[in-house]
Amino acid sequence: MNALFKHSIAILCGAFLLCASAATFAANGQLKLPNFDSLTDKASESVTITLDAALLGMATRFLDASDPEDAAAIEAIKGIKGIYVRKYTFDDDFAYPKSDVDMVRKQLSAPGWQQLVQVKSRKEQQNVEIYILVEQERANGLAIIASQPREFTIVNIVGSIDMRKLHELEGQFGIPKLELEQKKQ
């Protein structure tokens, strides 16, 4: 085999391994998030949260079950092994690299991940995508990618997801209850 052919094989193998490792990473529910450190200085506001199982356990010990908000949190995180949030707000449009957001989105094409819903609002220039990782008929991962011209948010939740409990966060943490649902009742 000539050198060019060997070189090409090496490149292809490398690319396959990269894709496989990204898929493996994504397949257990946890996404590989880019290093956004350089954005922290540019952003007017930033939220960086990394809570693995150990930190979640620690947080749970400081939640007060008699407090309605804390009680809702306790219920919502049952079965969850990790929560990762990156949210950046800027003073200028598109000050964040779209390629980084796209890199996260690519991981969600790995087997098991399904797009649950995509909402595009032309008026607010807002795009929200929600993905879940389904394994053996259970949701074992959740990913949210939300982008606007001056803000983007990535949420990744690992573990057994109870969408109903997350939905029941409405009314807590300053999140409004859906008037439509109240009207249906």
Binding site: P68, G174, K177
Partner: protein, 193 residues
Amino acid sequence: MKASEAWSPDELLTRASAGESAAFAALVRRYQRTVYSIALRMLSDRQRAEDLAQEVFLQLYRSMDSIDSDSHLAFWLRKVAVNRAIDRIRQEARHDSEPLTEAAAVVGEVGDADPLLQRRMAELVSQLTPAARAVVVLRYQEDLDPVDIASTLDMPINTVKSHLKRSLTILRARVLGAAIVDDVQPSMSERSP
């Protein structure tokens, strides 16, 4: 004119810490409006607001030694008043206490503003969730900026801003009569008779 009215704020504080009741009474007179109004906007009931305001001043009396300055005193009073009110609301929610028999939409004296609109707005504020209500009261009654509100409520500043933004949207829409999602608890008119 009472002698205490001639004392500077720092002198009032020093004398009150030393146990002079006239000085402490002057502090009560100076801050009663602030403390009572916070309690009233949070609890929506005059009697409960007065009880809570009295407890705040009693706690102040016991804690005078820990107050460093006049500005610390103002911060301390707001913090204790609003946090006690939030605790009271949550305790009552857990014990399923009797609902309020009236929403105390009390409006302060204002020039030529529309009293009905003001009453409506005060009612709507009283229907926000405790945390959102506290943020709105501290911002628009006490004129605190979001950083000070975050410090008073021990709340992340992003959460403060989020509460402000949502509450204004909801209040504005409700006042204008638009139907949007609500961050409200059921008002008295919506409860079953």
